[in-house]
Amino acid sequence: MNRFRSITSVILFFAVTGSSAWAQKKVNLGDNAALRYWSAFAEMRDSAITDQQGKEMTAILGGTAAYDDSQFKDLVEKNRPALEIMARGAALPNCDWGLDYEMGPDTPVDYVSKAARLGRLNVLYAYRLLAAGDKDKAASELAAGVRFSQEVANGGTLIATLVASTLLIEHLRAMDFALDSGGLSAAQRSVLQKIVAQLGPDGLDWRSNMKRELEIPLGLDSRASAALDKIIPVYLNALSNSATLPELQRMIDNAPPECSKILPNPGRVVETKQMLSDRLRETRSRLK
């Protein structure tokens, strides 16, 4: 009898803990911002524009021209549903793109190109709101865009980090524009200060993402693999200490070609990282 009770208790225990873990997993999946972002990608709508409008759009995103609502109102309005879904996703606590790194270098990363487009549409939307004088909404859209941009790099490799960095810089430029054109209220500033503070000094986790990038199994021969093992810590160190770049470059130059040709240019990585840090520092000091 006792034996029967014990077996029943064990079965019940596993049934209860199993269903609880399953329920927990279900809740976590629902809270995953990446799923909302994919919905937003699906809602994006294209629009035909002239060559001149294309140039103006480029200049606006580059921070060299003022937003002209008469030119881009339709494009932005068409994409408002996508941007609203994106903003709702940005409010969620976690974002997991679910990348299957077991596929090695064949892991699909198509989301980064879609994210680049959606993020830039959000920058235009923020300019439109600012032009209409809706600074409350502009500040919240910029905050959502910054959160989205940062999450594009979540669990990613170099390419996701570069797209995230580009989007962050474009959102920070829009914030600078908001500060220049008539200023923001204390509450609006506070929304932006909070989100920019969350970014930290570098904006993104460059080290983790580069580590992931460099550790993807590529099926190198033992000689190239040994050289790569020695290069990886020096490469990661160079991200926070650019003085070690010449040493790293020497190691890369002396490594077997199958190893050196797969390594992303470290000078370019460090330069891009620095560009984002500089822009963050500038915007932070302006928001004070």
């Binding site: 994006m44 294209d46 629009s47 524009i49 480029t58 090695g104 487009r117 830039r120 390419i159 570069l162």
Partner: protein
């Protein structure tokens, strides 16, 4: 001329008075037209130089931009995008910025004749 006796012929000859020579019409005409032609040539040359000086910086800028665009356009984004193809894109692009811009091009390269895809433009050229 009729045949006259010597004395009459002499009188006839005495009627002639030397005239002051006029400037050769042909020569004067030629000098004037040469001056005019020279002036016209000078004006045309000046106009060409002025036009060149005005247009050269713009032409140069456009050419540089075209070269930049061409170098970006030459890069092809494989579908579907993977880590391997993204890394190849980064390695082959003139800059990381150019690679990111190309990457953001829509997969369905829509042709609108004189117009273009807005999402395509969003994917390129913004300065980092």
């Amino acid at each position: 001329m009729p045949t006259l006796p010597d004395d009459q012929f002499e009188r006839y000859l005495k009627q002639f008075r030397p005239l002051a020579p006029e400037q050769l019409q042909l020569e004067e005409h030629s000098t004037k037209s040469r001056t005019r032609a020279l002036a016209a040539l000078t004006s045309v040359a000046a106009a060409v130089i002025v036009a060149f000086l005005i247009l050269y910086p713009r032409l140069r800028q456009r050419t540089e931009r075209d070269v930049q665009h061409a170098s970006v356009a030459r890069i092809e984004v494989p579908q579907p995008l993977t880590i391997r193809s993204a890394d190849a894109l980064l390695a082959g692009a003139p800059s990381f910025k150019a690679a990111v811009d190309v990457l953001a091009l829509p997969s369905h390269a829509t042709s609108f004749g004189v117009k273009q895809s807005a999402l395509e433009v969003l994917g390129k050229d913004s300065k980092l």
